[in-house]
Symmetry: C2
Subunit: 339 residues, 2 copies
Amino acid sequence: MSAPIVHGGGITAAAASFGGRPDDWLDLSTGINPCPVALPDIPARAWHRLPDRHLVDEARRAARDHYGSGEILPLPVPGTQSVIQLLPRLIEDGRIAVTDERVAVVSPTYGEYARAFASAGFAVDAVDDLAAIGSEHRLTVVVNPNNPDGRVWPTDTLIALHDRMKAAGGLLVVDEAFGDTDPALSLASHAPQLSNLIIFRSFGKFFGFAGLRLGFAIARGDILARFEDWLGPWAVSGPALSIAGSLLRSDVSPIRGRIDERSAGLHAVLKGAGLQISGGTALFTLVADARAGDIYTHLCRHHILVRKFDYAPDWLRFGLTPDPAADRRLGEALQRFER
Amino acid sequence: MSAPIVHGGGITAAAASFGGRPDDWLDLSTGINPCPVALPDIPARAWHRLPDRHLVDEARRAARDHYGSGEILPLPVPGTQSVIQLLPRLIEDGRIAVTDERVAVVSPTYGEYARAFASAGFAVDAVDDLAAIGSEHRLTVVVNPNNPDGRVWPTDTLIALHDRMKAAGGLLVVDEAFGDTDPALSLASHAPQLSNLIIFRSFGKFFGFAGLRLGFAIARGDILARFEDWLGPWAVSGPALSIAGSLLRSDVSPIRGRIDERSAGLHAVLKGAGLQISGGTALFTLVADARAGDIYTHLCRHHILVRKFDYAPDWLRFGLTPDPAADRRLGEALQRFER
């Protein structure tokens, strides 16, 4: 068991240190859409009965059509975190043609990949370039677009990496958790032809329903069957399946429009405060600043939580503000920062 | 990967074979309370944000007070199924003082225990008597009260079994999934003194919220820490934590009263039809009848689903009917069965 990672979302802990009621804080510490659409109707049986097959199947078909995964029906999972935890077991399992114990994680990125593999006894190489991935790596993780710096890798590059991994008997995991705002980046439509590819999609970030704990895995049938077997029956809640079945079939262009509008608002505030934007996606913005630690503390004193990084003390990640009033609140707090 | 187990709750499959709309079927195939209390208010942030620590802590405190586990704060898990899947790993893990590969499951019982251990390569002894458990068993599973036959083991007997398992370096798992209707049977208040005991509790069955996917594990701190680590952050959904925080603090005597009333109604119908009740709990009733297979099919033709058992072709398990009208519907269907 390695030490837990401090993620965004820890408003309770922040309020305990800096005061204020958690509900009064402005939480910019995650990459979750702060403007969710209205909660769809949830039928009573989704709450009260075990999630029945038709609820699962309907969510899978809606996910297939939304993500464009062709003949692959994405597997609903209780948050992509749940399948990140299963990746070491997938390598250990004899039926996947990988036998060594070295994995590559294109880094810096979401910390739970390295943690899951290190916990399971694997050697994890944090590589910053795809060229550093060799035949000794039985599995490679690429988050695309990457969190927190927003780096993106073109489809052709990732397909070539897949083919290289496959030739050596390895697997490529592409985490598209922040992929919904730029669907052209997704490998989902190529997945049926890429047998050693596993794609993870997050439902909660784009739709603004992170509390649901829902993600999807897209991969060849025997890999999805293994995940399903390991997660066991009824892994995903009825309300989550029901909401996914509704929202994945809805017109998402208003959601994209709203996210883009909020992202533009955030950028204007950050630039207005003289901060240098060094990366990000539509759902979050990365700032590089030598005073990052002080800005973080200053914002906490104004009951605004952003995300800092142990491994990159110059970085701060800002999630989207929910509305122009929050933009002004952030802007005013930043103006008061002693330069 | 062993073959999946056919559980109750498969209304979609039953309707595909026997016709009718799934919503029009009477589903008596599970042991879930069919009369749930009203859905409590769920704050918006439970849906939209990552489940924050205070939501988790509040659910844990409510579970501690409800289950009476003293100094142990029960760990919320996304359905007890999720931790059943982790039990083999707990034995494999070097930090638990168990090193052999033989487990005992008091049987017949909920099939996912044997499946999880067999999938992980363990030898599973299905024992029908606690006396058959020996020092060769590194872990024993007892479901109390047992599903589907309703057998119960007194607290003293299970404490003695725990002490015996512990003396040999083994673990005792007591699954109290159906324990809420008879709290006097629970080992929860003894758990702080029983270091090699793991208790599983189900939230959804008694409260009638099986779609939520929520259970609790009660055990010593390092075992719960390991489960928490393996499940990863945010394993349980925000709505589930929020609802648990409300309902576990509510007065549950009306729920028990309603379940008892429904159980009496079901018993009257089954006895009126001349069926022999051979076991059960307040949430389900087991019938033993040489014609069980024919009765099952007959009831399916009337769009009533009960639970049959591959390993006991004479058994049928009837879940509670939701109301007297459903009692009458079941009674009339049974009256039409050709004797």
